[in-house]
């Protein structure tokens, strides 16, 4: 259905971002929190409008903007993620000398990029959405301007990201030259008929995949991720670990799931991505073993989780992928939120030694953090267990048994480093002085909601699965 209403959620977010930028100039420094409330209002409004569009199948701009159910589901997920990031960031950015209203505005712009990416099937639009997301992300990574690591993170992200964008555009140009279209359905039809320029179009398609793999940190294109994640302000890291990843995988599954049985060249690309998925889960988990910095360790864990998501893409299993993404949003933001809970004024405690004895000194934070870690490791009854379970079952059904075996092995390795933190928190005597800021209600709200999400998804996943099934039926 062609209706202008399809653009309104996006317009609301962009308008919110502009309003935040405008207010930033006029607000006094003590009142910067109002910007967070303005952003949250924009998010809530967008959420209500998106909920109304569910099952309506609105589109605009000749179908370039298409609010189908998978797009709406992911939009919801992004709205939740960004709302959480804003809430956990409110206190943090003033404590860590990153108190700039631009934090909220840039987050909203990044969110608009995410929404653009998932609500289109045209590669040009997807690319532009990705760029809006990336450009805002580069600035977000460098928000702590006095901190060298943060600046390093911004520069590294910018250089690697531009590099990846170049790959993506080059691949798209080649694909357009051979297929004369950049719409995903058109491309799939083109690959089905057996194109004239077989090698060239495969090269183009491969370059597009490499560009996307960079952005979602698939091994061997993951090198930037640990440094960027470590240097960026922690709420921003939480956003990086879920937002770009979810959008990238959504694009991948839209692109690849119909392509796998489209004939031409798919067997080769399948084998290529198979190897990448195996590498990603293994390398991510193995390198995480050696990390002493929790933020870096979570970065490698996020890479390894990307590997599991890639397995779902290989199996063409949209339900498992969306469920994994949903769970991952809650557990990843929860884990980074717990890290933020352990920050003092101008100080962050990210080293493993800092965590010794935390479980008894701050029992609530310790216990909640432990639940998120167990969920990331994949223990029942948390959501992390079911998420991995669905991905593996779906993959085995598609005959990817050996890949699943590798992934299970990797996930066994990962149990070690997740549990090591728990061991430090509960079984070591504290060696270092850790003094943290305890008065942070917004953060505790997010921790509680994430905890609820992780447990709800692990024990009663029915409601969410019902929504996901409705969404996925429109995907293919």
């Amino acid at each position: 259905m062609n209706s202008f209403g399809a653009t309104v959620p996006l317009l609301l977010i962009v308008g919110g971002a502009l309003l935040v930028f405008l207010l930033e100039a006029f607000l006094k420094k003590e009142n910067k929190n109002y910007l967070a409330y303005v952003s949250l209002f924009a998010l809530i409004g967008c959420g209500i409008l998106s909920a109304k569009a569910w099952n309506a199948g609105r589109s605009y701009f000749d179908g370039m903007l298409r609010l189908d159910n998978p797009a709406l589901f992911l939009t919801f997920l992004f709205l939740i993620a960004v709302a959480f990031v804003i809430l956990i960031g409110m206190k943090y950015i003033s404590m860590q000398d990153a108190n700039h209203g631009e934090f909220y505005g840039l987050l909203l712009l990044a969110l608009s990029g995410l929404m653009i990416m998932v609500s289109s099937t045209n590669l040009i639009v997807i690319f532009l959405g990705l760029e809006v997301l990336s450009v805002s992300s580069y600035a977000l990574a460098g928000l702590k301007r006095k901190d060298d690591k943060s600046s390093e993170s911004a520069i590294k992200y910018f250089l690697m990201g531009s590099f990846a964008s170049a790959f993506l555009v080059f691949g798209m140009a080649i694909l357009f030259g051979t297929a004369q279209t950049l719409d995903i359905s058109g491309l799939i039809a083109f690959f089905k008929t057996g194109p004239d320029n077989q090698v060239l179009s495969l090269v183009g398609f491969g370059l597009v995949l490499v560009g996307l793999a960079f952005k979602i940190a698939i091994v061997p294109f993951h090198m930037w991720a640990p440094d960027v994640y470590e240097g960026a302000p922690t709420p921003v890291t939480a956003f990086f670990s879920v937002g770009p990843k979810a959008a990238g995988f959504a694009v991948l599954i839209r692109l690849l799931a119909p392509y796998w049985n489209a004939g031409f060249g798919s067997a080769k690309l399948f084998a290529f991505l198979w190897a990448l998925a195996a590498l990603t889960t293994l390398v991510g988990s193995l390198i995480a073993l050696r990390q002493k910095n929790i933020k870096r360790m979570l970065a490698y864990s996020s890479i390894a989780n990307g590997g599991y998501m890639l397995i779902a893409v290989l199996a063409g299993d949209g339900t498992a992928l969306l469920f994994f993404l949903t769970t991952y949003v809650f557990m990843s933001i929860g884990a980074f939120g717990s890290l933020i809970a352990l920050t003092g004024n101008g100080r962050e405690y990210n080293e493993l030694e800092d965590f010794a004895g935390i479980g008894f000194k701050y029992p609530w934070i310790g216990a909640i953090f432990a639940v998120f870690l167990l969920s990331l490791a994949g223990f029942p009854p948390t959501g992390g267990f079911l998420a991995k379970f669905y991905v593996f079952v779906g993959a085995v059904r598609q005959g990817l048994t050996s890949l699943v075996l590798i992934a299970v092995l990797a996930s066994l390795i990962s149990v070690y480093y997740y549990l090591r933190i728990v061991v430090y928190m509960y079984m070591r005597e504290p060696e270092r002085e850790v003094s943290i800021e305890l008065e942070n209600p917004a953060l505790y709200l997010v921790l509680f909601l994430s905890l609820y999400g992780v447990l709800q998804l692990g024990i009663f996943p029915g409601n969410v699965l019902y929504l996901i099934k409705q969404a996925v039926s429109a995907l293919f």
């Binding site: 701009f61 631009e102 712009l109 040009i124 450009v135 600035a139 301007r145 006095k146």
Partner: protein, 165 residues
């Protein structure tokens, strides 16, 4: 007339690129490159691609070269390349040159027998491109404006004066 202009632009382009390589002062090199880009723009115009010609001059000869010259003047590279590095540079240059040569040979082989100078190509006029931008590609066009806002704000955020300085 068109043929005459073609040879004029071609000779100027080759000459200015030679000047760019030979001159020792980087600022001169950059200015020669501006001239070369402008000549290329003229060649595009002769080939019936007026939009490309204008974009070539505005973006390459204009925006990008201004940036180049800014950087050259700001960091002021005085030293030449050291002898050991020069060997590698020459080897790399020879390799790239051979690839370009092969590309030119292929291009000439595949070129149409009739010269294309002075012929108007369909779908390349600025009017048509403008119309497409505001009809079929309106959505990407509008997203680009969001992208530019994000880039502007991002740049300001990163270089804004720190508090108390």
């Amino acid at each position: 007339m068109a043929i005459l202009l073609f040879f004029l632009f071609a000779a100027l382009a080759v000459g200015s690129v030679l000047g760019m390589i030979i001159s020792r002062n980087q600022a001169y090199s950059a200015l020669f490159l501006v001239l070369a880009f402008a000549c290329l723009g003229g060649l595009y115009g002769l080939l019936g691609a007026p939009f490309m010609a204008v974009v070539q001059i505005i973006i390459y000869a204009g925006a990008i070269m201004v940036l180049f010259i800014f950087v050259i003047m700001m960091i002021n590279l005085g030293e030449g390349i050291s002898p050991e590095k020069k060997k590698w540079t020459i080897a790399a240059a020879v390799f790239m040159g051979l690839i370009l040569l092969a590309e030119i040979v292929f291009a000439i082989k595949g070129a149409p027998a009739v010269p294309m100078i002075g012929q108007e190509m369909a779908g390349t006029s600025p009017i048509e491109i403008g119309r497409l931008l505001f009809t079929k590609y309106l959505y990407p066009f509008e997203i680009t404006s969001i992208l530019i806002i994000a880039a502007l704000v991002g740049a300001v955020v990163l270089v804004k004066k720190r508090d108390g300085e």
